[in-house]
Symmetry: C2
Subunit: 342 residues, 2 copies
DNA sequence: CTGAAAGCGCTTACAG
DNA sequence: CTGAAAGCGCTTACAG
């Protein structure tokens, strides 16, 4: 960068020292600059279109006004909803958000936290399911610990397996409530599109659903559980594989809404119109998908609120850490899962 | 931040000077450190878990490895798709992305570009329609010019009204092609849900659609054009207002997909099942909405590709600026607009 | 209330 | 190939 106006230029134009110029412009702790000088400085700064160098400020102050946010894929509406909450709350606190997409590459979270550390982010937020890879989780934990040891604040939105404040979504409970609700609608024979096998979020939802059925005295045929990526195409392919087995079921639970929508597309490919052909339920209550037809039964997770909460937790002072905040989901029954006539 | 390991610590542990440690760790321009010393330095850095201070590097180097991205709302799938492209391409070039949501607040773009300037972002990308507010556009133009004068690179995804490289989406052409295609399907009486009146993107789409009809010898009844926010609820409300007028039309064009989906919800509220009740078309081809039922006719815009292109334009050297890249859309006919029986 | 000066943690000519 | 030193643009004790 060249030609930028520095504090030095402002000070000279105003005929004051660097120190006075700095104080006039910020006047934080020891804010004591004569009215007259202050005005001279402000005028000079305006005339020169002075813009302070954030790096120099960071160097001198030893901290920064950015929050680093790591998530898997910003194009996925689950993550963009959380990101929206983070950005809203960050903006309200005068913080900028630096975002990184892991694209689910193993180790990427750790790399990005390292990058945020190098940038002296004041806050780091890591959003996304943990996996069953213990070693990877440990490396991330170490990096987060190093970040906090340097004075940063980290918050995870994930399973509570990291040594920092974490917001833990009750996947098990939500799926259990959903399973019970579907059972109460009269469904007895279920299938599940289970997401990637190594993702804890996916396995928790499957487990919760399974628990609901056994509570009600039913069970889930292992042959009716199909796994696949956490995406629209993942749901689409998984549903086709399920239907290839000609399963005798009345209702399929896809472990997230995006997969559920893919599943409905696959059903239609085969002339199975939902919900008549088969009832379908998802999880998350993605806003953009609230108008699909038939309306998708799901479990509402307050994603944006979770993002905002993450920032708030990070900014809270004088509390014992790490803390765990559990966030529950709420079953939303819609037209995709009608009552079974008895 | 406290307790962080500095280059100084690494140098001391390796028994070399600061300069040597720095060179061993980066070895960019004048990369000439003895193999033995280099190894000593690398080992010391690893042992100490050294993480360079990005601000100090930025200060010393006079530039930074971040791209600033301003957009209106990351929860809106239009913007999250563009953002995904920006992040992908930025990541491929070792750049971090700092993102800011304007929430369509007037003046916010200018404020954020100022923030990116203070942070010495090497690239700034501004995504979003210009409005008919000339003064606001001028202020943003000034800020972008100041940013580039300091050595930064800016790219706009918007109407070409800013003094920087811009990617201009052919809203007029896309809407015109869509209008002609719908006319060719046999539709003659149209309504338009026109988006916010001050947004150029909205008015360009309406104008293009109108142009198509007059080309074909038809016209758009002014009474059949309703405006409203660029959101799902905006489309929903606008459609209700339109239906209140009991318009004699066979097809409604919502100027973006999100509004179109809201419009379909409003129709269903009144027992008007699309497309039988009325044909519906949108614009953008939002990925998350490709499975709505009936499938939504729209104009496909390569949003992610546009985001990636923005980064690429910014990174190109030795070219005359500013440049304008026009990106066209492609009509995608789906079930929401069946042929009218003749 | 104001200023001279040290310091934040790096990089990079400039010498050797 | 290696090192001493200046400089990047701020902030903030420390004096006065």
């Amino acid at each position: 960068m060249t030609g930028s106006v520095t504090l030095h230029d402002v000070a000279r134009r105003a005929g004051v020292s660097l120190a006075t110029a700095s104080r006039a412009l910020n006047g934080s702790a020891n804010r004591v600059v004569g009215e007259q000088l202050r005005e001279r400085v402000l005028r000079a700064a305006a005339e020169l279109r002075y813009s302070p160098n954030a790096h120099a400020q960071a160097m001198a102050r030893g901290r920064t006004d950015v929050v680093g946010l790591s998530l898997h894929d910003i194009a996925d509406p689950y993550f963009s909803a959380v990101a929206a909450g983070v950005m809203r709350e960050a903006g309200a606190n005068g913080l900028l958000v630096t975002m990184a997409s892991t694209q689910r590459r193993p180790g990427a979270e750790t790399d990005y936290v390292g990058a945020f550390r190098r940038h002296w982010a004041s806050v780091v937020i890591v959003v996304g399911s943990r996996t069953d890879d213990r070693a990877a989780t440990d490396r991330l934990a170490d990096e987060l610990a190093a970040f906090e040891a340097e004075g940063g604040r980290a918050v995870a939105v994930s399973q509570p397996r990291l040594p920092v404040d974490t917001i833990s979504i009750d996947n098990h409970g939500g799926a259990r409530d959903l399973g019970e609700a579907l059972h109460d609608l009269g469904h007895r024979r279920f299938a599940v599109l289970g997401g990637p096998g190594d993702l804890l979020t996916a396995s928790e939802r499957v487990a919760g659903f399974r628990a609901a059925l056994s509570r009600r005295g039913g069970r889930l045929d292992p042959d009716h559980v199909v796994s696949g990526p956490f995406t629209r195409d993942g749901g689409y392919d998984a549903m086709h594989r399920l239907l290839d087995r000609e399963p005798d079921v009345t209702c399929v639970f896809a472990v997230n809404d995006v997969m559920a929508v893919g599943a409905m597309a696959a059903m239609r490919d085969r002339g199975l119109e939902p919900p008549a052909g088969m009832a379908v339920a998802g999880f998350d209550d993605i806003a953009t998908l609230r108008d699909v037809n038939p309306g998708l039964t799901t479990v509402r997770i307050p994603l944006e609120e979770i993002g905002a909460l993450a920032v708030r937790l990070a900014l809270e002072d004088d509390v014992a850490r790490p803390r765990v905040r559990r966030v529950g989901g709420e079953v939303v029954l819609r037209a995709s899962t009608p009552r079974v006539p008895s």
